[in-house]
Structures are given as C-alpha cells and as structure tokens.
C-alpha cells in the first residue's frame, strides 16, 4: 500500500538510534503513525518537530501495518516560534490536544484545515491566534461528535443576546432565559456568540478566559473520560501563559 498526503507533525518517539515512530495528522487519512528512518540525521532533524507541515508518503505491505514515512518539509512552524514562549506553548498545546483525543486512521479534513490555519496564525504572529485556538478546540469537539450549538437560545430560540452556555446540553442561552440558572451556566464569550463576528471585544482577556473555560469544560466532560486521560499538561502551560500562572487550574475545574 502506498499513499501520499499533506500532514502536520504531532510528535515522534525515538525508535532505535536513528529512526522514530512519527505521529502525523494527515488531511485525508487522519491521525496516522509510521516509522521514519533517519530522524536524527541532518536531513530530517529539523523536519520532525510538532507543528511542522509536511508532504508525506506512507507505505506498508498491509493497511494495518505500522508502515514507513517518507517526509518532506513544507512549512517549519516549530522553528518560527522556538524563541517565543507563548507561541511555542500554542503550537505544543494544539498538537498535544489532537494527539491526545483524535482516534487513529479516521479522516478529519476539516480539523486538519483548522489546525493548519491555527498554526499559520501562530507562526505569522497574528495577534488574534489565542481566539483562533479556542475556535480550534470547539472544532475539535465538533469533529468528535460533541459540537456545541451556539446559534440560537435553547429556551427561546432567539439568535441575539446569547450570553451563556448550558453545561448539560452544550446549547447557548440568552441572559434572560438563563437568569434562574446563572450560577451553573458557562459564560459565552462575545467572539463566539452568534451574529457577533469581527474583532474581539474590549475585554478580550476575559473573553479569552471564558472561551478556554468553555472548551476545557466540554473536553474534560465528554472527550477525555472516554479516552481515559486528562487534558494534556501542554494545554495547562498555554493557559498559564495566556492568562497568568495558576490560571489553568481555574480553567479546567470551573464551573
């Protein structure tokens, strides 16, 4: 068997002295492992780093074999962010999240595109990349079948004035409809509310924190228990860098 695809490196484990088992999120073949020879050598040393976009070819005698990767660098996202702790934490968290919760060999082209857009935004230093990261996590939830419905109020059907999300149904509610349950509801950040696109609000740090709480809550409740894991520590380090040390603890335990 042989196929070619585009991919994003998620991680690698050394196998022997010069080879490694490399995990790649490919556009058409999903998260896929394979053996890459010579990853400690000059040609591949800088290629097999989490976040790098590669042109990859996988070959194996049977489809369920580990197979062999042939890799060629397309864009070195990792090298672009090595000396920036915040952006490096963004790349590490995004790749760790995909590696931790996406099933193997199941195509998720939309998620591949979302990750590619996020990594481009991080590597280019776009100021809004933390908000793109939150959208990426919500996209991850959606791809895994746990998407949130933020388009209309679960109680009244209103599409404007959405301010909270029900932790039970994952649906948005307006402030009036959610008032009796305000203490139990999750805040919906303005940059995710339906019909409120465009640049983040003035209180963007609070919006960002609300977004990270929202995605962490549903990831922790719905995705990671099934995978038998907790949120990756790389995500906690990103949250700490974005919101201040210790913030990750609050983010993953609310509400």
């Amino acid at each position: 068997m042989h196929w070619q695809d585009q991919g994003i490196i998620l991680g690698a484990r050394r196998h022997g002295e010069t080879a490694g088992i490399v995990s790649i999120l490919t556009r058409e073949h999903g998260r896929h492992h394979g053996l890459a020879r010579g990853i400690a050598g000059k040609r591949l040393r800088g290629v097999v780093e989490p976040g790098n976009r590669v042109a990859c070819a996988w070959s194996g005698r049977l489809a369920d074999h580990l197979g062999i990767w042939s890799l060629e660098l397309d864009r070195a996202h990792a090298a672009a962010v090595l000396d920036d702790p915040l952006r490096l934490a963004g790349v590490a968290a995004a790749t760790a999240m995909v590696e931790a919760c996406l099933p193997e060999r199941e195509a998720h082209p939309a998620l591949y595109e979302a990750l590619a857009i996020l990594l481009d935004a991080i590597a280019d230093g776009a100021a809004s990349w933390p908000f793109v990261y939150v959208r990426f996590e919500l996209g991850l939830l959606s791809e895994l079948g746990f998407g949130l419905d933020l388009s209309a109020c679960a109680v009244t059907g209103a599409t404007q004035g959405l301010t909270h999300v029900s932790p039970r149904s994952g649906r948005a509610v307006t402030e009036e409809a959610g008032l009796p349950y305000a203490a139990k509801l999750l805040r919906l950040p303005s940059f995710l509310a339906s019909g409120r696109g465009g640049p983040p609000a003035n209180d963007s740090q609070r919006d960002l924190a609300d977004g990270l709480v929202l995605s962490a809550f549903f990831l922790e409740q719905r995705v990671f228990p099934a995978a038998g894991q907790a949120l990756p520590p790389a995500r906690g380090r990103l949250v700490d860098r974005l919101l201040g040390a210790g913030a990750a603890v609050g983010v993953v335990t609310r509400p």
Binding site: R13, P50, L73, L82, D83, A96
Partner: protein, 197 residues
C-alpha cells in the same frame, strides 16, 4: 549455533547503541578470542562501574564520586551553571572545552507525548542551587526542539524571580555550514539572531 552463554552475551550486546545482532556477534567473537586481554578486563571494568557510578547529588552528572569531579573541582567557576538535558550533552560540552563552569543535568525534557512533567525532571535541585545564592548566570543549553525549548521557557519562568541572569544558546548557521544546504528553520533562526558584524 553457539552455547547458551554466548547467545545471552550476543543478545545483551545487541541492545547497545550502534550494535545490531550481526555486529554484536562479531564483537562477542572478538571478546572470546581476546579473553585475557579484553574480555576479563572489560567484565571487571563493567562490574566496577556498575557498583560505583551514581548520579551526582548536586548536578545529576554520572560519576563514581559524589559530588562529581566537575562539581568538586575548585578551578571551575561555580557562578555559571549550564543546564543540559542529558549527561551525553554535558560530555559533548566538555569535549568542546568551551565551558569552565558547572553543569546541571535535567534528565530529559517536558514532553506532552510521553507525559513527562516538571516533577519528573531534576528541576527542583536546580532551583535550590540558584536560590542558595552562589550562581550568577544560568545558561539554558537544551536542544533546539519544541520539547527542549518548552523546557527552557519553563525554567526561565522558574528562575527569573530568583534574580539570576538567564541566557540561552544561539541558534543558527553551524561552523562549516553552507547556506544552500541548511533547512528553512535554521536559516530563519539564524537571520532572526543576526548581530552587528
């Protein structure tokens, strides 16, 4: 083909870096041929090393002494500590002879894939060494990889409140390197780290 003892020896030798089953077989054959000149001294040296070599309680280097020869050397500058991932990195820097201070071996890097967190690394003793007040500069010499630099940034956050100068190795064109053959990442890192000439 060979006796049980020889097969066991081949199996063990084949686990060493650089040796596969065929080269392990050749090495074992050579050892047996030079039983008195090589095999017995090697076995004694291995036995002695296994009994005596321990990680240094100060820096994590491997030595038969504790503190290790580097930590105990009064000629070395105790105010400059180079932080490396593994003992092999320390040996590489010693080979280069470029550093006459002390070291600290972390024993790995923070790794999302392998679930290695700060508590799994030799970080607290480093913080303790710096907090003791004798260290003026910490040089973060972790690898130029996502995991290596994530660890370096984490250490930077931990060390900064202690008021010590924290520096890192430069990334860029290697000595003897030709630009045409360098990867994109190294080239952009080199350009970013350009300095007045």
């Amino acid at each position: 083909m060979a006796g049980q003892e020889i097969e066991r020896l081949i199996q063990l030798m084949a686990k060493l870096p650089g040796l596969g089953p065929r080269s392990a077989r050749r090495a074992v054959l050579q050892l047996i041929k030079k039983r008195d000149g090589l095999m017995r001294p090697l076995a004694e040296a291995m036995s002695a090393a296994a009994a005596a070599v321990r990680p240094c309680s100060t820096c994590g280097n491997l030595d038969a002494l504790d503190p290790c020869a580097i930590c105990a050397d009064p000629a070395r500058d105790p105010s400059v500590v180079v932080v490396v991932e593994e003992v092999g990195d320390l040996w590489a820097l010693e080979r280069a002879g470029a550093h006459r201070g002390r070291y600290h071996v972390l024993g790995g890097t923070l790794s999302a894939l392998d679930g290695i967190g700060p508590d799994d690394l030799n970080i607290e003793p480093l913080i303790g060494r710096v907090a003791a007040g004798t260290v003026r500069e910490v040089v973060l010499a972790t690898n130029a990889t996502v995991e290596g630099q994530t660890t370096a940034h984490y250490l930077m956050d931990r060390l900064q409140p202690l008021g010590v100068q924290v520096t890192g190795l430069a990334h860029g064109v290697p000595v003897g390197g030709e630009l045409d053959y360098l990867d994109d990442g190294t080239l952009s890192a080199a350009l970013k780290a350009r300095r007045p000439f």
